[in-house]
């Protein structure tokens, strides 16, 4: 059985607005705050009159473009991951940040990069994946599992405790590794400052695979929204659905953390934004939530560069400043 959701005019308009916000953020982030005084015109020049010896065009192509693309894709990943988690648990507070998936990935990545750790020597994607899995599993085991409909609060509180624990461990590891490494603190708060094309080529293939997996779970998630029992009686293999969703979430989160550190609260905000804009069907929500996440990270990155111009603020701090009031709002609004 497929549930069909009518697509209204308003939703199309909303999506269009969202795409406009994303595109404008993307274009602005390509040229603002540069030592080379770039202008919109330079981007136009690349498209119409490409000149490989022009320094401005080279700056945009080799420094700005990979960074902006990465920001968008990471935002897309996190937004999609948040939506999948909220869809599966039917818990409005579920997100990679609050379920300690991000901090788990960050913790094991940090341990992995140190020489004394046992896990050392793994590729960083694998380390992040293991960490994300550990963080998420810990939260679910300690918080009472998936079947606790009435205990969604306990799950969140357990998630926050595990999050605190893992973040503390990461900080300890970083200090022991190098007590002068302020840049590591930056990475811990999520930073896009040293992104190049190499990073982008690490990022996109895995992201694409995970997103395809995510799309394949949409039908199941639509039915899951009616309750697990109903989904089961409508022919959904709930266990298999959970496995696929979890795998997609872990992949999406861990690859993003590997590249840019934990950019917090994007996965919490984006799905709510998407639901406010575009209804209930996961087929539409998934891309819209992804686009919201992308727009969010893109604009946050833009902001993070313009606050103290030559220096860079980690983008994760900006998203935390936006995300935590939203978190407070969600907590207060929710029915107990």
């Amino acid at each position: 059985m497929n549930i069909t959701y009518p697509v209204r005019k308003k939703q199309q308009l909303n999506t269009l607005l969202l795409i406009t916000a994303l595109l404008s953020g993307f274009i602005i982030s390509l040229y603002t705050q540069s030592e080379f005084l770039l202008q919109v015109n330079d981007i136009w020049q690349i498209l119409t009159a490409y000149d490989s010896s022009d320094i401005k065009q080279q700056v945009i192509l080799s420094l700005r473009l990979p960074r902006s693309l990465t920001a968008c894709l990471i935002g897309f990943n996190l937004g999609a991951a948040g939506l999948l988690m909220q869809g599966l648990t039917r818990n409005p507070l579920a997100s990679p940040t609050l379920f300690a998936v991000s901090s788990g990935a960050a913790c094991v990545t940090a341990l992995n990069s140190l020489t004394f750790a046992m896990v050392s020597g793994l590729p960083s994607e694998a380390a992040a994946f293991i960490g994300a899995l550990t963080g998420g599993l810990l939260v679910f085991l300690l918080g009472g599992g998936l079947n606790t409909q009435n205990n969604s609060l306990r799950l969140i509180l357990a998630g926050i405790a595990v999050n605190g624990l893992l973040t503390s461990l990461t900080r300890a590891a970083l200090i022991i590794a190098d007590d002068t490494a302020y840049s590591l603190l930056h990475w811990l708060s999520g930073s896009l400052s040293d992104i190049d094309w190499l990073r982008w080529t690490q990022l996109w293939p895995l992201s694409l695979a995970a997103l395809l997996l995510a799309v394949s779970t949409c039908r199941g998630l639509n039915l899951n929204a009616l309750g697990e029992q109903t989904a089961f009686s409508l022919g959904i293999n709930v266990t298999w659905l959970r496995i696929r969703v979890c795998l997609a979430v872990l992949l999406l989160t861990s690859i993003s953390v590997t590249i840019a550190g934990p950019i917090v609260f994007v996965g919490l905000i984006a799905p709510h934004l998407a639901r406010a804009l575009c209804g209930r069907s996961h087929f539409i929500l998934l891309p819209v939530s992804g686009l919201s996440g992308a727009a969010l990270v893109c604009w946050a990155d833009l902001l993070s560069r313009s606050i103290v111009p030559p220096a860079e603020t980690p983008v994760g701090i900006i998203t935390a400043l936006i995300g935590t009031p939203f978190f407070i709002y969600l907590v207060v609004q929710g029915k107990s």
Binding site: L165, D179, F327
Partner: protein
């Protein structure tokens, strides 16, 4: 000697023992003879013993007492086992304002830090109180709201530290709580506050026991519950704030110490308060001693170690908590 006195005596001797360990151990290990002669006449190791390790021991004990007493009062008033000053955002508010003052005016006199922290702590408490008034959430949801508020305040601190980069150990004081570089200078601003507030809390403890019977019964027994609640909360906030002003947001001490004390001595506040104060002092002192000795000469923030201990305990509390 009753069981209670034995527990207190045991805790106290443990604290003394731990202080001695803390005095002897560190990046540079010293012999018993040197330590004793330095304590009496000074000498070569004067800086290490008298100016570095000794004040840290005192500050650890004092902040431990302050945070633990604050935790007992908070849990007693809100009657929520998940409540504590750091989980309610009070420590976060105090940390944010103390950190702001210090970053904007690095040369400010240290004795201004506690008042600044008080301002921040009371603002955060007021915010939580208003939230509680408007939405009247369930206890668990209130705890979550407090955590959300402290997450926001922590991200503000993070943001400030990025705008004004400081040395990593000082940053850690405000991010996780640490006793790094705390000398005698920091004891004097802290001490007067504690001398006033801790005995006051002991005085309130008697009425708090009546409050545990329920607001109506307490009223019938002659306790002005509303005034008591306000006074107890105010002194809880003040205690947590002045401690945070000195050594940052050392997390989970205010949550752990009252619970451990309750396990040891039962649920009467008159008995809990001294036991919790001892437990808190032990917790912070052992965290700081470990932090200095795990990887010398490097230092871990003490708050990292209390979090490693406190977070699992918090999860354990979640399992026992029945009021969802």
């Amino acid at each position: 000697m009753s069981r209670y006195n034995r527990i207190l005596a045991g805790g106290f001797s443990l604290l003394l023992f731990l202080s001695l360990i803390s005095l002897f151990s560190g990046a540079q290990s010293l012999t018993v003879k040197t330590v004793i002669s330095t304590l009496i006449n000074g000498g070569d190791a004067d800086f290490i013993i008298n100016q570095y390790r000794l004040p840290r021991i005192f500050i650890a004990v004092l902040t431990g007492i302050g945070l633990a007493v604050s935790g007992v009062l908070t849990q007693g008033i809100i009657r929520n086992p998940l409540a504590s000053p750091d989980l309610m955002g009070i420590s976060g508010g105090a940390g944010l304002s103390a950190c702001t003052v210090l970053l904007i005016r690095p040369d400010i006199n240290i004795s201004w830090l506690p008042p600044a922290a008080l301002l921040g702590g009371f603002s955060a408490a007021l915010f939580i109180w208003l939230l509680n008034r408007w939405h009247n959430p369930s206890p668990a949801r209130l705890a979550l709201a407090g955590i959300a508020v402290s997450a926001f305040l922590t991200s503000c601190i993070n943001f400030l530290l990025v705008l004004h980069p400081v040395e990593v150990n000082s940053a850690m004081i405000w991010l996780t709580g640490s006793l790094w570089g705390r000398s005698w200078d920091y004891i004097w601003p802290l001490l007067p506050w504690l001398i006033i507030l801790v005995p006051f809390s002991f005085y309130l403890a008697w009425s708090l026991d009546l409050c545990a019977l329920g607001d109506e019964t307490a009223g019938a027994l002659g306790v002005n519950t509303q005034r008591l609640q306000i006074m107890a909360l105010a002194s809880a906030v003040a205690l947590a704030s002045v401690c945070v002003a000195v050594c940052g947001t050392i997390s989970f001490v205010g949550l752990l110490a009252p619970h451990l004390a309750r396990l040891l001595v039962g649920s009467r506040h008159k008995l809990i308060l001294p036991a919790a104060a001892l437990t808190g002092a032990l917790l912070v002192l052992s965290a700081d001693t470990l932090a200095r000795n795990l990887a010398p000469p490097l230092e871990l923030p003490a708050g990292v170690l209390t979090a490693v201990l406190g977070a699992p305990y918090f999860i354990f509390l979640l399992h026992r908590y029945k009021g969802w």
